[in-house]
Subunit: 295 residues, 2 copies
């Protein structure tokens, strides 16, 4: 089955402005994102949040795309409504007019150019291998929810296929030249992949590709009143996708005492100290290494 | 004349949260900021902006402290009112009860630990020399407004003396362990300085100290409609206090063309691509090297 319609979405979070500037660039020269075998559309996810320079107006848009929420008219916040409109434009989820959604995000964490894959399947495995072949410094971040796709709440799951381009570090509301370039390069590589996939012209790919798979999130330490009593330790800060070993410093309490990682095996970190995750008191994601097969 | 009352102010910008966490730490153990020869108070500049996790509610609090604005009851935005209250607490400006205000800030720019000095005088020159002696990696940033102190609009100018502790890089709304430590160390050094100054017990200081002095700001390139057409070039990004030479790449236009620095002499950058300055379309400050004398 070939990909006929691709949508590039930007500004799903209003203060992740890199994608919005890429959109403005591409709108002036659509040939940059055009390929022969499919059409490419551009959509700004949350223009109102961009206007007020915030992640969202009422709540996180990128958590509003579970099927039951899209079908629930009682959910009427700005983003709950906007999700229903996006589902009309790109979906409808389950039987969508869009074959692939590429959703452009940035992070304050030192994750470099990362492609986040929220589902399993051969298409994704080939994509992962092609991305690593063309851009070895890119990271493939797998978070394949075990639930059915209809329960996924990410915007990109409205398409038949969907991925997130996630690049950092860049502060919220900032445009960095390097992050702009990496986001553009990674998006171009994905478009190239689709073209080659459609034409059955992919280059020879390795039999397997190394990825990181999400295990769970860790929260910041708090006292009995829920007040934070520590921060991410500088040993872990900026060390996304580096090893975290049992006994390594993980948090530094404000009273000067370090809290060590008490897991029983080596893991890897991601989204370390991401600004947007303070809302939920998250400190870091824990990841494990895994491989995807292209056979 | 000795310093009797010091005020440490934090959270003047609501999304610069490092100082707020330092305040919480110090409130639990006031001995950390106490010295024999003076008293030290703590004040959160803009609690409401901190609560909503924004720089400000209506406008930048740290621009509301010119004498004529403090005296103008017509100026009634949240921050214009808050400035009048802070002037009551720490001032009044011109005849203040506070001898020294230390205002804690952070920046998204790669400025390291910086002390910003907004006025001229022997007290400041000695402070600058002591800070550089105790913390050689610290930067002294002079922006002595040529206008009378009463026209200065910064919060710290409400005190008889005032300085800003400005540390980065850290994204808005993020607490970094290293930035927390640098902010604390720099503040402690300033408190130590005051103690030694009061006791006439300063160590031998070099005859002069190298500083950077603000020249002017550069704006981002825009088209005739005022729309941004480029970003800070990666040659300049993260290069705060590094040389910018005539002909160096300064901006990268979205169409791929670099804009070179067209000044006629070597300068230095600061506040490069600072998130908060996008409001005014500022790209970077330009600085020159200068020396302050301790004699």
């Amino acid at each position: 089955m070939s990909i006929k319609n691709v949508a590039i979405v930007c500004g799903t979070h209003g203060n992740e402005i890199t994608g919005v500037y890429l959109m403005k660039k591409w709108q002036k020269d659509l040939s940059l994102i055009s390929r022969e075998s499919f059409s490419t559309g551009l959509l700004q996810g949350n223009p109102k949040a961009y206007e007020i320079n915030r992640r969202y107006v009422d709540e996180d848009l990128n958590r509003q795309f579970a099927q039951k929420d899209l079908e629930n008219p009682e959910l009427g916040s700005y983003e709950e409504n906007r999700a229903k409109v996006i589902n009309q434009i790109l979906g409808p989820k389950g039987n969508p007019k869009t074959d692939l959604i590429i959703d452009l995000h940035t992070t304050t964490s030192n994750m470099g150019p990362t492609v986040l894959i929220p589902q399993k399947g051969r298409f994704y495995n080939l994509l992962a291998a092609y991305v690593k072949q063309q851009m070895p410094e890119a990271i493939v971040f797998c978070d394949e929810d075990s639930r059915a796709n209809e329960e996924h709440h990410l915007l990109c799951t409205v398409g038949k296929y969907g991925v997130i381009v996630e690049v950092g570090p860049v502060p919220q509301s900032v445009l960095r030249h390097d992050v702009f370039e990496q986001s553009e390069q990674l998006t171009q590589i994905i478009l190239d992949f689709v073209e080659l996939f459609n034409q059955d012209a992919l280059p020879e790919l390795p039999e397997s590709v190394e990825v990181f798979r999400f295990i769970k999130s860790l929260t910041l330490p708090v006292d009995e009143q829920g007040e934070r009593i520590g921060m991410v330790h500088k040993h872990v800060q900026d060390s996304d996708f580096a090893q975290l070993n049992p006994g390594d410093p993980l948090f530094m309490k404000f009273d000067g005492e370090a809290i060590l990682y008490d897991g029983d095996k080596t893991v890897y970190t991601a989204f370390v100290n991401e600004a947007a995750y303070y809302d939920n008191n998250l400190a870091t994601s824990l990841m494990e290494k895994a491989t995807l097969s292209t056979k």
